[in-house]
Symmetry: C2
Subunit: 132 residues, 2 copies
Amino acid sequence: MKYSQATDYALHAMLHLVTAVPNKPVGVQLLAEKLGVSQTYLSKMMTKLVKAGLIQSAPGANGGYRLRRKQEEISFLDIIHAIEGTASLFECSVNHGSECLIQQVVVDAERQMEQYLENKKIADLAKLMKTE
Amino acid sequence: MKYSQATDYALHAMLHLVTAVPNKPVGVQLLAEKLGVSQTYLSKMMTKLVKAGLIQSAPGANGGYRLRRKQEEISFLDIIHAIEGTASLFECSVNHGSECLIQQVVVDAERQMEQYLENKKIADLAKLMKTE
DNA sequence: CCATTAACGACTTTATGTATCCATAATAAC
DNA sequence: GTTATTATGGATACATAAAGTCGTTAATGG
Ligand code: SF4
Ligand code: SF4
């Protein structure tokens, strides 16, 4: 049970977009170089972020990606969900109904984590970003 | 990002042990039948639970598994950790030190979930267990 | 000794994640 | 319009982990 490395890349890519010059798109070429991953692979994650409505893409010369919403409106959970999907991390095969305690406990636990991640916005990251 | 099905099996196996007759071991044969999984596969998870100190095993005739601690002292987190391991669900490759916010946020989020799971004991499950 | 039952290791199969290459489409700049 | 630039999509290869099986060993009660 671990977050995929794709999530790691996506978080770092967003981190770079946050600190980029506003309204100036950043190409996947530059991002891939900084993260140490191939362009085509990273572009797949970027596409997921686009489809999730977090960033905006522009093809053509001087194109690239830029944030779609404000920094204060993009949470960690948004990014993670965009990459990992929104499926629950526990799904039993049988499902005896909603009165089941096992399911209830694990799903509630997951919600605890998600609430925490939802309240953390990437705007908080923009403050540092001197080391990276 | 999902819990393995092994965790599902382990939780249900523990659920059966909780409601079993005290001090009377339950064999893997019976458990596997109820869960709809092969004996050998389930026994691997049971062994993990034994090594984690959650249950006790007894070989030989009339052997099997029984709880090692009290019901009130076995949490969901204990079971999940025994099966899934205790590794953090986010580990970056570079690791720029402890001041990194990305790591901090995700790890803290995980801790939120774990605290919730730690406070939920399997004794709570013993109350129902009429449908299953 | 003998039947029973857990524990262990080797193995196969399947699924998922990781990653690359190539073709295509869309846009901006000229 | 032409061309260079950039994102998107599909096909493919590879690695890793999960899911499950099989055979053997070891310990215990009768
Ligand atoms: S007891 Fe709960 S978790 Fe288990 S099979 Fe039934 S509904 Fe699913
Ligand atoms: S910024 Fe944080 S998460 Fe990213 S590589 Fe550095 S230490 Fe790891």
